[in-house]
């Protein structure tokens, strides 16, 4: 199952500025659409495993709404405390109007 792209959702379900979380196999994935560029990361903060879905996205980073940890959406890098570890990032593409994520 690894290293293959899996359909995530229709592109129209994640408009510019939007985000969506869903499970692929056993992995919760968060897809964000920033100015027509898609990013796929783990939906869980590396600090306390809280969902990132309702976090604010700005300048290619998402902020965990619970304790304020921030992650670079492109690299997964933790940008500030209380997180110190990165979150996984995934390759993402669009095929025939579907967002696909490689998990």
């Amino acid at each position: 199952m690894s290293n293959t792209y899996t359909q995530f959702c229709k592109l129209e379900d994640v408009p510019v500025g939007g985000k969506k979380a869903a499970k692929i196999n056993d992995t919760w994935i968060l897809v964000c659409n920033i100015k027509d560029r898609l990013f796929a990361v783990s939906n869980f903060c590396s600090h306390q495993r809280k969902p990132l879905l309702s976090g604010r996205v700005r300048n290619c980073a998402i902020t965990c709404p619970v304790h304020g940890a921030k992650f670079n959406l492109e690299t997964g890098e933790a940008l500030n405390l209380p997180a110190t570890k990165p979150i996984p990032t995934y390759e993402v593409r669009v095929v025939d109007g579907w967002i696909e994520v490689k998990v």
């Binding site: 600090h47 306390q48 976090g55 604010r56 700005r58 300048n59 980073a61 902020t63 965990c64 709404p65 619970v66 304790h67 304020g68 921030k70 500030n80 405390l81 209380p82």
Partner: protein, 467 residues
């Protein structure tokens, strides 16, 4: 010494001005599109000529008194409104060891909470961060506060019968929003911000419409000098001829104008597109035009042949008007030459500079580094006018430069301006070291060109002494 200089030296203290050169007001009066009243006024007074004692720049005790008496009682710029546009958005502002969560709790209400859990003190949000939340939960034991500051949850409430929710709301500082800037003051008895700034400056500020701008670029760097010394490096154009010789050709430095308004605001106007009195007669108008350096050029070329009777300043104003009209998609035909060209540098006490005008749209902020009062966190914000659509772009992320990195490396920084900032800040380590090394324990100031330094230090003295 010329006879005229000698004559000026016999004037009352503070009355002498750069001899054999037009004044700033003379230069501006000749412009084709006239400047508004806030440009065409003067407000200088002699404030004394005694030395400024230098212990303030290095003694730890002085920094301690500043934290105790100055930072706790003055209005400070924390963030722009566009940093926190939505309810629940927050921005952490630190001064020394104090830290505040600046957060929008309702569409038209912003609060500043002391950034510490009321249980065992953990910061509720890390310093230097921003984000959006529906509550502030401590990452240690999970005590939680609502956006309005009321206690939402004390973990294991049964163990805290002595905690009364009504006594456990997050403490706040005063907040006021002005021209798109969110200011705080820890002193609940402090005068209103408008009173603190004074009517005269308020009338200048309202003319600039800075609320209709956004943070296009935000750069920071640690400067190895005390915050006051660092600020003072930007308070006069007197240093231009020695520190920035490349711009003196097109900068009226020794004939710049200096003013102050009340205790907390002072300014200079430094006309551009005219030659420094130090270099008078050495360059043609064409050469002055060609060497002009601007702060936010947007990469537009400045090459243009001047006619025989054209002045560099008039040609610069025309070129800028066209350039900025195109860039901002707006009509600038009524904007004065002076506002398009000149450098209007204002200090808003204690630690902020605002620049009016079009070509140099900066705000500076200076804060002592919390654990080293001989270092400064220096920030430069470029505030651009909003696009005509009115849609507010996201504020630029802060770019923090390494100690040995050039400002030129910052994304969005004009190269010419980056070099100027490098030159300004490169002097400061030598000055900090020299002030500490010197046999002379005071700074000697010019009566006119360095009046902003004296005015600023008089306010420092007032606050530090607890008055």
């Amino acid at each position: 010494m010329t006879a005229q200089t000698a004559e000026k030296m016999n004037m009352a203290k503070g009355e002498a001005r750069c001899p054999n050169a037009p004044s700033t007001q003379d230069i501006i009066a000749k412009d084709s599109v006239a400047a508004p009243g806030w440009v065409r006024s003067e407000s200088y007074q002699f404030l004394g000529d005694e030395d400024i004692p230098t212990e303030r720049y290095y003694e730890e005790d002085f920094a301690r008194q500043e934290y105790q008496n100055l930072w706790t009682r003055t209005w400070q710029f924390t963030c722009r409104e566009e940093h926190i546009p939505e309810v629940g958005d927050y921005y952490v502002y630190d001064i020394g060891r104090k830290s505040f969560i600046i957060t929008r709790v309702a569409e038209n209400e912003v609060r500043a909470y002391y950034n510490a859990c009321l249980h065992r003190g953990t910061k509720l949000r890390a310093s230097g961060t921003d984000g959006c939340t529906s509550e502030f939960k401590c990452s240690f034991h999970g005590w939680t506060w609502n956006l309005d500051g009321s206690l939402k949850k004390a973990q294991c409430e049964w163990d805290f019968p002595h905690v009364k929710a009504e006594e456990f709301s997050l403490p706040q500082a005063k907040v006021q929003i002005l021209a798109g800037f969110v200011f705080i003051n820890m002193d609940h008895d402090a005068p209103a911000l408008e009173t603190y700034l004074g009517d005269e400056f308020m009338s200048h500020l309202s003319a600039w419409k800075l609320e209709d701008r956004y943070v296009h670029c935000h750069v920071s760097k640690i400067i190895p000098a005390n915050w006051k010394l660092t600020m003072e490096a930007f308070m006069e154009a007197y240093h231009v001829i020695e520190t920035h010789p490349q711009v003196a050709v097109s900068n009226a430095d020794a004939n710049s104008q200096y003013d102050f308004y009340g205790e907390h605001v002072d300014r200079f106007i430094s006309p551009l597109g005219v030659i420094s009195p130090h270099l008078a007669g050495q360059y043609t108008e064409q050469e002055i035009f060609d060497q002009f350096t601007i702060g936010d050029s947007g990469g537009v070329s400045t090459s243009q042949q001047l006619g025989e009777n054209d002045t560099a300043r008039a040609a610069m104003a025309n070129m800028f008007r066209g350039m900025f009209e195109e860039a901002s998609d707006s009509d600038l035909s009524h904007v004065s030459d002076s506002e398009l060209l000149d450098c209007f540098s204002y200090t808003v006490f204690p630690n902020m500079f605002m620049f009016a005008g079009i070509s140099l749209p900066m705000v500076y902020r200076f804060r002592p580094v919390a654990d080293d009062h001989r270092k400064t966190l220096y920030e430069v914000f470029f505030l651009r006018p909003l696009p005509k659509s009115g849609e507010r772009p996201e504020p630029a992320e802060q770019q923090h430069m390494a100690d040995d990195q050039s400002f030129v490396d910052a994304e969005g920084m004009d190269d010419g301006f980056g070099v100027i900032l490098d030159q300004d800040t490169e002097n400061l380590l030598l000055q900090q070291q020299g002030v500490e090394a010197s046999a002379k324990k005071g700074l000697t100031l010019g009566n006119y060109q360095e009046i902003r330094v004296r005015h600023f230090e008089q306010a420092i003295d007032k606050y530090v002494s607890g008055k």
